[in-house]
């Protein structure tokens, strides 16, 4: 044969063996690399804790978040009410726990929708000039309207409901993801391996989905975590302004808004929902930073 390094062709079992060890080795390498980045591990832990809280809210919460009790209005944190009570006697701790559900649900769905839509718009915008112009001008149009203003306007049009909050925030954050996906796709499109696949006769769709999409997935996923985080802030802001979830729903934003009204007397009304909002968003941002290095193949 042509070259002295050529070992006779192994049997199928040996190859399977080699494959398993290599796959395990590659996964181990990735795990070790992620654990090295302390900050993003901390971020992941925070996010996991929040998810657990959201899922097991009923068993964690000490009271029914909606049950009012005028007798116990504005009590400071005590053994009975860990985070104190609000103006109409509802237990702040239980409402914060249930609030986690709202925030995470909004965050996940807005993050997910804007990532998927953004990826598709970005990919197809990178395919031809005309489509690119149309799609990108629409994105620029939407992005020039400030996020919160657009969200507020959409909410007033659609009416106060969790479903509408998600729709509005998805419309607000999709253009950003689309623009980023499009610029990454244009960079990938110039790479030689895309040209090579065209030489090898691959169809346009195969190149788009099997070669361009996987290579812009990493930046899109990272952008998704940040979209997730900003969706939580946006939902809180909307509820704070009274344009978010219907009143009475235990959302961190609306609790903060109620807290502002009694800022002189009830510090706990602001402290606890505020802490949870900030912590969740910080966790997501830290995790997002760590994810960026992990998914970037070149840094291995």
């Amino acid at each position: 044969m042509t070259n002295d390094m050529n070992i006779p062709f192994e049997s199928k079992e040996e190859l399977e063996e080699i494959r398993k060890t290599l796959v395990k080795e590659q996964r181990e390498l990735k795990r070790k690399k992620f654990l090295k980045n302390k900050m993003s591990v901390a971020g992941l832990c925070i996010v996991i804790i929040m998810i657990i809280i959201a899922i097991f809210a009923p068993s964690i919460a000490t009271h029914d978040p909606y049950e009012t009790n005028v007798m116990e209005s504005l009590l400071p944190p005590s053994a009975q009410h860990w985070f104190g009570t609000d103006k109409i006697g509802r237990d702040v701790f239980s409402r914060v726990i249930y609030g986690a559900r709202i925030s995470l649900f909004v965050g996940v769905s807005v993050g997910g929708i804007s990532a998927v839509l953004g990826l598709i718009i970005g990919l197809y915008a990178s395919t031809n000039k005309v489509l690119d112009n149309i799609l990108m001008r629409c994105c620029d149009g939407l992005r020039s309207i400030p996020n919160l203003l657009l969200a507020i306007t959409l909410m007033t049009v659609l009416g106060a409901a969790l479903k509408n909050v998600i729709i509005s925030l998805a419309i607000v954050s999709t253009p950003g993801v689309a623009r980023m996906a499009r610029s990454s796709a244009l960079v990938v499109r110039e790479q030689t391996y895309v040209e090579a696949m065209r030489c090898l006769g691959a169809k346009k769709s195969r190149i788009l989905w099997k070669h361009i999409a996987p290579n812009i997935l990493a930046p899109v996923i990272v952008q998704m975590t940040f979209a997730f985080a900003s969706a939580i802030i946006a939902e809180a802001s909307l509820s704070f302004l009274g344009a978010g979830v219907p009143s009475g729903t235990p959302s961190w934003g609306s609790m903060l808004s109620e807290g502002k009204a009694v800022i002189y007397s009830a510090w706990w009304m602001i402290a606890f929902p505020g802490a949870f909002t900030a912590l969740t968003v910080l966790g997501l941002n830290l995790f997002g930073d760590g994810l960026r290095d992990l998914l970037d193949p070149l840094t291995n």
Binding site: M1, M5, I18, R19, V23, C199, K210
Partner: protein, 331 residues
């Protein structure tokens, strides 16, 4: 010399890239390749040299139909593939393939080497997975890689090894013609030697024809049977390697060859230094594009466009100095 079978040829191929203004109207053209005629014979290595911006890579991409020629035709094994659609072109992909310069961007970082090779087979209808794996494994061995490389990602390979994977991917469809676009320029000297030897061994074994595009003259001289020198989109001179170096005719080719340093300290070289800068391909000089920098330029050179003419059966040149019918007082 019996007439060799022509596997790939370009007939007056031109490639003009339109320049558009703000409103999308075409204002001018970048004349990257301008009327190049060239034939690649079976089992031969045709070296295509020239400096940056001379259009050699663009010509290579046009011959493999990554780009559609603006003028002229590309003929592959006797069939005109100049303006075929992507679907029609697919069956010809088995006959001509390409190897690229930059090892770090020519492989999809998200795909394992094995999948890269198997996907090519899948595209061309090899249905059975085991069969695809077997072919891919054989091809890896053929380019000097070991079976466990099958499951590794491109970033786990050195530059030289990646070029081997690129080569394996190009050869897996058993094409007869390979266009090598500067395959060794990005590699270190010792790795370069390994890839050059591998290319030559594969050529002997499968009777491949190479269009070897490069700017490093000593590599091209070593590996090519015939060499073509390009300047600003035009093929200036074409000759068998020995003939070109011993009897260089075109003034640009003379200057180019004299500028190439030789790894021999004793040789005192007398250099022809070209004045001025490379003109822009957007509005190249009239007549012969080299006349603005040519030491022998005459008035006629700025009027008439030289045509590639045979000086003998091993040597063609496009220069009015040697062209009787265009230029009465030629040699």
């Amino acid at each position: 010399m019996e007439e060799k079978k022509v596997v790939l040829s370009s007939e007056h191929v031109s490639q003009f890239f339109p320049i558009k203004n703000g409103f999308g109207q075409v204002v001018n053209y970048v004349k990257a390749v301008d009327g190049v005629t060239l034939e690649l014979h079976e089992g031969e290595t045709y070296g295509l040299v020239g400096e940056t911006g001379c259009g050699k890579s663009t010509l290579g991409r046009t011959l493999i139909r990554l780009l559609e020629p603006t003028e002229g035709n590309v003929v592959l094994n006797g069939e005109d593939i100049s303006h075929l659609s992507e679907k029609e072109m697919r069956k010809y992909r088995k006959e001509v393939q390409m190897v690229f310069q930059d090892p770090y961007t020519s492989l999809n970082p998200r795909q394992k080497v094995g999948d890269i090779l198997m996907e090519v087979l899948e595209i061309h209808g090899v249905k059975d997975k085991d069969e695809r794996m077997e072919i891919a494994m054989k091809m890896l061995a053929k380019v000097g890689l070991r079976p466990e490389h099958f499951y590794r990602y491109p970033h786990e390979f050195s530059g030289g090894q990646r070029q081997r994977v690129g080569l394996a991917r190009a050869l897996i469809l058993n094409p007869k013609v390979i266009i090598c676009d500067e395959p060794v320029s990005a590699l270190d000297v010792s790795i370069q030697a390994q890839i050059i030897n591998l290319l030559q061994d594969l050529q002997k074994e499968d009777k491949l024809s190479y269009l070897f595009i490069a700017h490093d003259m000593s590599v091209v001289k070593y590996i090519s049977d015939r060499i073509g020198v390009m300047y600003l989109g035009h093929l200036m001179e074409e000759a068998e390697t020995e003939e070109l170096f011993s009897n260089t005719l075109h003034p640009y080719a003379q200057a180019l060859l004299s500028a190439v340093p030789n790894a021999n300290p004793h040789e005192e070289k007398q250099r022809i230094v070209l004045e001025g800068d490379l003109p822009s391909p957007i509005n190249p000089p009239t007549g012969c594009v080299f006349h603005t920098r040519c030491p022998y330029a005459k008035a006629i050179c700025s009027e008439k466009i030289p045509v590639l003419k045979s000086v003998n059966e091993k040597h063609k040149v496009a220069c009015l100095l040697y062209d009787k019918d265009l230029n009465p007082d030629a040699e």
